[in-house]
Symmetry: C2
Subunit: 357 residues, 2 copies
């Protein structure tokens, strides 16, 4: 849906039931495009800003508290396959992924934009399921979609649906949460068990060969993180370990902050079905994707309070301390095993499971 | 390139020359992704905000003049085929399309985000050509890319490259330029000849069967429109006639403003090679896509001054008045032909040329 399409025009003469699949003409910008927007997209995503029907959305800056606030912006393409899986779908993923990236900067996510690339022949009923999912996730996260665009490729030139989302929100100027802020002595927290998203996607692709019962952990973390920051404003780093998993994300942080981070393997929460699936498939859960978890690095003195706040929230009830920033001699990630040995963890090499998000 | 990837890490051990095509692992979020970002994307798109390497970009709101300003946001997916054509490529298109949508609201475009969906096997050399083109277009338009993300699909699951861009900028609060602001008596201006983009794409696809010599008109219009608004602040509507062409866009405006717009066919600028190509192919130039043109609707008394300003700019040197808002009785677009007859123009029906932008 290009914003230049007015939503308030006369009723389109083409009933959608005449073509229950996406046609190439739905991307033409002409009457079919207008019809798709009015009859489908607008039903689920409509709001005052989006529905104004101009080339761009207008947002009053008066929404912003002070000129000292900072605008926080993040963008992601979502090409996950399959589109539907245990625990979510591409719609929930597209909203939560971007909401979380904005929230990881200590910002309050406010608005999203979305582009939809649809393959000719895509079922309108599947599009509607995904839009319902987007609508629910936006409601849960407290964000609005303010601008959107839809394009259509010929059959075989895309893969059902790709969604790109851009999110923006506001952060107070006095809050500095970033990958280069980890200090020696800081504690490393994780908001819950890892690997659920990766295993759920592998299973949805038929790659497991057995039923794991694992669901994706996709969730908007912004409300929980806002509650944390309200009481613990001196958090140093927050980041969600998505593609590349916990290990890759912590290597990134170790490099950005030029510190050694040491994880205690026994303390890293992993659900038993995920652990079993990893054992059977030879996957390392430290490199599996997550979509509803946050790494939080903060001063040692704040650990108890932070865990108490996180555990009150559904998405943080299994939060745990998993490690420490131990030195500034080398930029590296170490894993202390149950046998007391330590090994260096590197970034994910090559690909373990592509198109995971 | 996910922003969570730090650009300032140690040199990656994998020389890019070992794999001059995009591999599925370039989308894994691991070391190949980091390498692609450092060695390719960062070379062309790097700036202080983008290179901070966090989950989201931070922008000082102090850049904004007053709390009364409004944030203007627009988003577009670009799936054009082929990726390279006379007059431009998908990179220039992705920047200009979004810059123009923000500018059409009377706003100053400041920042862009971009997502790249790449097909496995895509040539790194082609990626670099497109990034150079993005870099040049950003420089010309005076905007920065502040956040980006790259994903990779398996071969055959996408079509080379898709780019989604989101743009944002600022508009003064006292400026109301929108599709519903056309008034009876207003003049309709067009900044230059129509149909060049549509014919250039048709030719690049081998659909013409002859050499037209036509180049796409892709251009960032924001500097020219800012110059116009500085002297003529009381513009009522600005919109770029992209997908669906001049006719579809003016039907949209007629519906939003609930007015009749009358075009004088003889006054609509069309380059002779475009006219010839349309005649040979049976295409109607009024429905061909444009990527560097604006429709401007403003009070009759401002026409002369507006045209004088537009004609000083390279992208407006063939600007012309093409019609008038004639009544508020019906929401429709009329075309007065050279024979003095009038016919009603509708929106584009079905599709004339898909994947045009």
């Amino acid at each position: 849906m290009n914003n230049s399409v007015p939503f308030e025009g006369p009723v389109c003469p083409l009933p959608l039931s005449n073509h229950e699949q996406i046609l190439i003409g739905h991307g033409s910008g002409g009457d079919l495009t207008h019809h798709l927007i009015r009859k489908v997209f607008q039903n689920y995503l409509g709001n005052d800003i989006l529905s104004a029907g101009n080339d761009a959305a207008l947002i009053q800056l008066a929404n912003f508290q002070t000129k000292q606030d900072r605008l926080v912006v993040s963008t992601d393409a979502h090409i996950i396959t399959p589109l539907f899986f245990a625990g979510g779908d591409i719609g929930r993923l597209a909203v939560c992924g971007t909401v979380n990236d904005v929230a990881m900067m200590g910002a309050k996510p406010l608005y999203l934009t979305a582009t939809f690339i649809l393959e000719e022949g895509f079922l309108i009923s599947d599009l509607e399921k995904i839009l319902v999912s987007i609508q629910k996730a936006c409601l849960e996260a407290g964000v609005q979609i303010v601008a959107a665009d839809t394009k259509v490729t010929e059959k075989g030139k895309s893969d059902g649906m790709f969604i790109s989302t851009t999110g923006f929100g506001l952060a107070p100027n006095n809050r500095l949460i970033a990958g280069d802020q980890a200090n020696v002595g800081d504690a490393v927290l994780l908001t819950g068990p890892i690997g659920n998203h990766g295993i759920a996607i592998a299973e949805a692709r038929g790659n497991l060969g057995f039923k794991s019962g694992v669901k994706s952990d996709i969730a908007p973390l912004n409300q929980m993180l806002a509650a944390l920051l309200a009481k613990v404003p001196d958090v140093h780093v927050m980041r969600d370990p998505t593609r590349g998993g916990l290990a890759t994300t912590l290597v990134e942080i170790a490099q950005q902050s030029a510190v050694t981070i040491e994880l205690i393997e026994d303390l890293i929460p992993i659900d038993p079905p995920v652990r079993n699936a990893c054992a059977m498939l030879g996957l390392d859960p430290l490199y599996l994707a997550n979509e509803g978890k946050a790494i939080i690095i903060l001063p040692q003195a704040r650990v108890e309070l932070a865990l108490r706040i996180l555990k009150k929230h559904n998405y943080g009830k299994n939060a745990a301390r998993i490690g420490t920033v131990t030195s500034s001699e080398k930029s590296r990630l170490l894993l202390r095993t149950p046998f007391g040995t330590r090994r260096v963890l590197e970034m994910l090499t090559g690909e373990m499971l592509p198109r995971i998000c």
